[in-house]
Amino acid sequence: MAAADELAFHEFEEASNLLAETPDAATTSGSDQLTPQGHVAVAVDSGGSYGAEEEAEESDRTALLQEEKQQPGFWTFGYYQSFFDVDTSQVLDRIRGSLLPRPGHNFVRHHLRNQPDLYGPFWICATLAFVLAVTGNLTLVLAQRRDPSIHYSPQFHKVTVAGITIYCYVWLVPLALWGFLRWRKGVRERVGPYTFLETVCVYGYSLFVFIPTVWLLGVLALSLSGASLVFTLWPVVREDTSLVAAVLLSTVVLLHALLAVGCKFYFFQPLPLEHLAPPLQATSLPPDVLLPLTPGAKTT
């Protein structure tokens, strides 16, 4: 008969760390055939070296556990519901984690804990796309105040451009990165790169820092965001050759910088002169006022 102490739920630190590193492992609690102290054994599902008569039992148990953890098929609603299984406090915690990247503090292990969600990336991208368009419009308004010849217009098409760009970035770049890491895993026999959803999650949450700092869409936002990406990817890449690691990390940072710089130039410049349509304007400005303004006269 087990002691009352063993029946209480224990948080096993080593087990949870091991689980975090090998997300496919199945834990089995100690039965009375194993040690009587409730010893937790972590069995990697690729098979362990157990005795013959225990192996059938272990495989039965792991099969059962895997069946319980099996997600519903992708045609059911419940499959997608599993990606939105987060609370408000969890989302806020993940956002805070992405805002303050620290070298030893891995975003995926400590904040995601094998539960990536799609709520954060989706709505952060939507908010960012819209905030970019709004701020670009505000820049145009302020530029028009200074220089009344610049024609103000709502520029609604920028919203669609912003949305498409950001969503493509958050989906296609993690896809490429995940594919590359899986290929390297095949080459180097390294266990446990991030799943695709975790990569998307990391990218989505790392874009959050652009939202409040969009006015200074510059070095600060880029460095914070890029730092959180690099720190998250570092443990996965460090096992590889240093050349591949350096190339991969610099590619990631470069793509991120391209996004930031592209956004700055596209959304935060007032219209150059050749986009005006003077014959269609009913303005009363005489044409010679427009001439001294060169196309290169951009503010900030």
Partner: protein, 236 residues
């Protein structure tokens, strides 16, 4: 097996007992299966589904639907925690509001293609796809509201912003200037807050309590986008 308490003796010797006196002593053990169905048929509000609505005049039909839409408008303008919008949902009101808003917001045809306000189709798509996305989001988070009920609520709560659009168009007939902009900004902010309050009053109860903020934030973003489109509208 029912164990009935045995009445003592034969009926002949004892005094006559009242009818069903021994019933209170009967105990039924768990072995007897009790089967059957107890259902109460749900009766929604009374509507005659017989041929009388086919024979009525078209005016009656239209007036009945218009009255239903008008009643829901009142519920949006004076939001209380009531179930009317959810129980008798319809999509006529959202359609009328969306078409009105899109007609007023579309840019005139002389404007250049690239810069300018949204086209009619863009506004329409934003409103309907935005509402669908928010509904999907709230269902994925575990809310127990049906798809069309949520669309109905989100569509009806655009009413304050449509009123703001009308007011803005009237204000824009006056001369442009900072006062003009301030008035429009104030009106749009007030109506935006009204929309948020109205939709939260109807939608918040359907979410689990630890996810309410996650479900309400997209609604905030949706009405913010529409408010921005209204505020940046410039007539050509």
């Amino acid at each position: 097996m029912a164990k009935a308490a045995e009445s003592s003796g034969d009926p002949g010797t004892t005094s006559p007992r009242p009818l069903f006196a021994g019933l209170s002593d009967i105990s039924i053990s768990q072995d007897i299966p009790v089967e059957g169905e107890i259902t109460i048929p749900m009766r929604s509000h009374i509507r005659e589904f017989d041929s009388s609505t086919l024979n009525e005049s078209v005016q009656n039909t239209i007036m009945r639907d218009l009255k239903a839409v008008g009643k829901k408008f009142m519920h949006v303008l004076y939001p209380r925690k009531s179930n009317t919008l959810l129980r008798d949902w319809d999509l006529w009101g959202p359609l009328i509001l969306c078409v009105t808003l899109a007609l007023m917001l579309q840019r005139s045809s002389v404007d250049s293609e690239k810069d300018g306000g949204p086209q009619f189709a863009e506004v329409f798509v934003i409103v309907w796809f935005g509402a669908v996305t928010i509904t999907l989001n709230s269902k994925l988070l575990g809310g127990n509201i049906s798809f069309f009920q949520s669309l109905c609520v989100l569509g009806y709560c655009i009413l304050p912003l449509t009123v703001a659009m009308l007011v803005c168009r009237l204000v824009l007939l006056a001369e442009p200037g900072p006062i003009n902009f301030m008035v429009r900004l104030f009106v749009v902010i007030v109506m935006f807050a009204w929309s948020i309050v109205a939709s939260t009053a109807f939608l918040a109860d359907s979410q689990p309590p630890n996810r309410k903020a996650l479900a309400i934030y997209p609604v905030f973003l949706f009405y913010f986008v529409i408010s921005w489109m209204i505020l940046t509208f410039t007539p050509q």
